[in-house]
Subunit: 220 residues, 2 copies
């Protein structure tokens, strides 16, 4: 199984560290930070401790200057290179419902180097129609289309009962990483990387935080 | 700022532990596990180590029986109570675009105790129309509607440039927790809890994992 929990180590950085690097990247906009940025600015913006920011950035090399901070452009470049987003990642989406449409219109994907090059669905009413300049193809065309486009990432945006089938098809078509939005646990080949976005889990985490804060207010 | 990083402690459980509890919950379906479940079954399903599962579940009390495992129903109840989802959380969505429609149709929300009780938008073409049995109201009605429905959680599904304004309105209306899908860093009052779902970050994490696996294959 390629499913990896949030705290498990995967190579040189833990998943948690890699996630924080993504969050720091969000704050490294010249308009927000100026040309240099301090660890405490990043810490405040992301909501972690100063020490955590310094530890995370120390893993990337000797980047900061004492009393001055980090060069925002240099730090951006190093984080992008570390995460592997210093180049374009061609991606396809399978299942063209509301979620796929939301993803297509999500600003920031293209900005961060993700290019959607293919849309696939098995609904005959959708096949052949266009969404944001891309024609929806049938699932039969998945393998040949991915071979031509050299797409590496596949987004699974189908109902849970079809998710495993789609994951298998994408694997056969030569995709290397899967971003799964279906609330389903997938069995995938060991050479495939999987990130699951379970929207209900995000809701649960919010409920947990609200419950905690209320418990502490009531002195329970 | 109520924005909390993935590794920061928030009360009794770390965010990472709370997230894993949510993931274990996904696997605790009788059809998947039978009436008892072992730590290794949960470990395999979620993709963490056996020891991690046992450590996480030990924080919830003395639940397992050596050689037998955990009672699936009892474990489900304890995790739901710990996360605060042993009751219904009324929620509203602001911004009724593709993402909101996807969320409304996302199975599992209702199942996990989240009930969408209000939809809000500022587009006059949308106000007054119905989506999945709910009427879209204008933002002016937010405060009175939340007062009546006693909604506690607010989902921000608007473009990034409107996200701060919507967060402020939801805060004024008495919402306690915000689930933010807009790629924007929000400043919020300390008594409000915030979970940000940045879809580009999920993509970046996938790119990072694929890049890592390729680096190790090439022996770089």
């Amino acid at each position: 199984m390629g499913q990896i929990g949030p705290s498990e180590l995967s190579g040189s950085l833990s998943r948690a560290t890699a996630q924080r690097l993504s969050q720091y990247l969000r704050c490294l906009r010249p308009a927000l930070t100026g040309t240099t940025v301090s660890s405490s600015q990043l810490a405040r913006a992301v909501g972690v401790s100063d020490a955590q920011v310094r530890r995370d950035l120390a893993t990337l090399g000797n980047l900061g200057q004492r009393g001055i901070g980090y060069d925002a452009n240099a730090l951006t470049a190093v984080i992008r290179r570390t995460l592997g987003i210093d180049r374009t990642w061609k991606s396809v989406i399978v299942g063209v419902g509301n979620l796929a449409r939301a993803l297509l219109r999500y600003r920031g994907f293209h900005e961060q180097g993700f290019e959607i090059v293919g849309l696939f669905d098995n609904d005959p009413h959708k096949i052949g129609t266009q969404v944001d300049g891309l024609t929806i193809d049938s699932l039969d065309q998945l393998a040949s289309s991915i071979k031509t486009s050299k797409a590496e990432l596949g987004v699974i945006a189908v109902p849970p009962e079809s998710a495993q089938l789609v994951a298998d098809e994408l694997t056969r078509a030569g995709i290397k990483g899967l971003l799964n939005f279906a609330p389903a646990l997938l069995k995938i080949a060991p050479h495939i990387r999987l990130v699951t976005v379970d929207l209900a889990i995000q809701f649960e985490q919010l409920a947990y935080l609200v419950r905690l804060s209320r418990t502490s207010e009531n002195g329970e």
